[in-house]
Symmetry: C2
Subunit: 311 residues, 2 copies
Amino acid sequence: MRFEDRDGGSPVLIVGSVALDTVKTPLGRVEDALGGAAVYSSVAASYFAPVMVVGVVGEDFPKEHLEFLASRGIDTAGIHTSPGKTFRWAGSYEFDLNQAHTIFTELNVFAQFRPKIPQAYRSTRFVFLANIDPELQLEVLDQVRKPKLVACDTMNFWIENKREALIEVLKRVDVAFMNDAEARQFVGTTSLVRAASVIRGFGPKTIIIKKGEHGALMCRDGICFAAPSYPLEEVVDPTGAGDSFAGGFIGYLAHTGDTSERNIRKAIIYGSTMASYNVEGFSLDRLRRLTPRDISSRYNEFKEIVFFEPM
Amino acid sequence: MRFEDRDGGSPVLIVGSVALDTVKTPLGRVEDALGGAAVYSSVAASYFAPVMVVGVVGEDFPKEHLEFLASRGIDTAGIHTSPGKTFRWAGSYEFDLNQAHTIFTELNVFAQFRPKIPQAYRSTRFVFLANIDPELQLEVLDQVRKPKLVACDTMNFWIENKREALIEVLKRVDVAFMNDAEARQFVGTTSLVRAASVIRGFGPKTIIIKKGEHGALMCRDGICFAAPSYPLEEVVDPTGAGDSFAGGFIGYLAHTGDTSERNIRKAIIYGSTMASYNVEGFSLDRLRRLTPRDISSRYNEFKEIVFFEPM
């Protein structure tokens, strides 16, 4: 069941990691749980639009995870199974839930990942390049045909080690996601507003800076939009918050087919909604049992949270 | 000239530090410049309501600073001149403007400060206890008569060293201000929403958590209101941001005489407006030359910054 209980709108193509995560937080622990940026963003997007996902898993990837994605209407034909083991990440969060401590990263089959976009997906109008090597993001861009909107995400590792390729990606996308630390690092400034201007100078019309518990800041054409995060008493597991945010964002844009600034603002609130639910459980636990009504109700709550009267 | 170019509304009583600050930021340096929590908050409040300020200065305090305060309609009869030197603070801000590094603190006459509220001020309906020793804040509360609203601020030093006195203050105020680090420290949690609940449990109906560049979070009666900070490309000097925020807040409440939740939300946006102007210059430089039109125009901009359409 999708948001507003209807099918339709454009589909979304999502390319990125599919992983098995071992995560420890002050509230518990999961081992080899379903994760990966492409998974979080696809599941979040699937509440709004049909999703096609491209990634790679090993022979050990549990079949029930693919079944779960399919049950959400996600086309998994683009998830290639390679000989070897699935990408694994292990991390922990301590007192400060904004900061993940990586225990280990085992790339496994992901080390050889070269995204091959099936012919049937190449004309998809909405594309999300989840956080992978920017050189691979460029390969995806070479394979798709005139999408209406492309968004990309990245991480500190690529900013440090693949800066030139990342700049090439930025030249070719409409929306860039970075978190606050990444934006500051990329530009070498403390001012997020200046960082946003500089990043926009490389190409993307819209930059969305994710600030975790402090919400998100979107800048384009000299305007800024500030969205709060949903005020939660308790965060169970922050893993995938940024990915479910981006997934909800692009899913809503695809659902409506409208990439105007006013709709981008709404899409950010839908993204924040998905992220806020996601962190209420480990892995995909909370997103699995989300209903369209949950989404509407939290969207409306966001409206209350920021409301103040005119002068 | 005051906001909406009118006098009226209730006056505000502000008690706190009057200081001479030496501040270095990446954009410059000032020496022995006018500062102190009571000064920043009084000047900000003076744009909305008549202000009476209580504090202490040394014999070296430049007369022109008192004249400036008087020129803003601030009653300085409660600023006592003691033999000795004025309270001095020196600090620097590096790359991260959210973090002040104290170089030295010379309490001087402030070490013996015992706030004595002039008879004429004791029935003031709006009271702001700026950041001073909570034992002194309690002495102020013993001297005032049934104010309509009392707000207090504090700092990490008192949380660590005068926790019991601070809790006594919290029992007797309507609005408590803390910054995010202080709220987390006071309650021993990372969750600001939980910290807000616990602090409210001590007494204040309303808690306002100041998050610097990330805005403010107000919680009361099970609701939260999130206000962004104004997206500035450049912060010249963050000193006094929290104080001018609190001053604008209580000044607006006094101006309107309305302490309802809907008006508290507006007051927070006026506070954010004053804070955002304050950090555009060193010391009181920017607030000195602010106009009511500047305030209205930024308030309206805040409305745009958070706007998104209903579902």
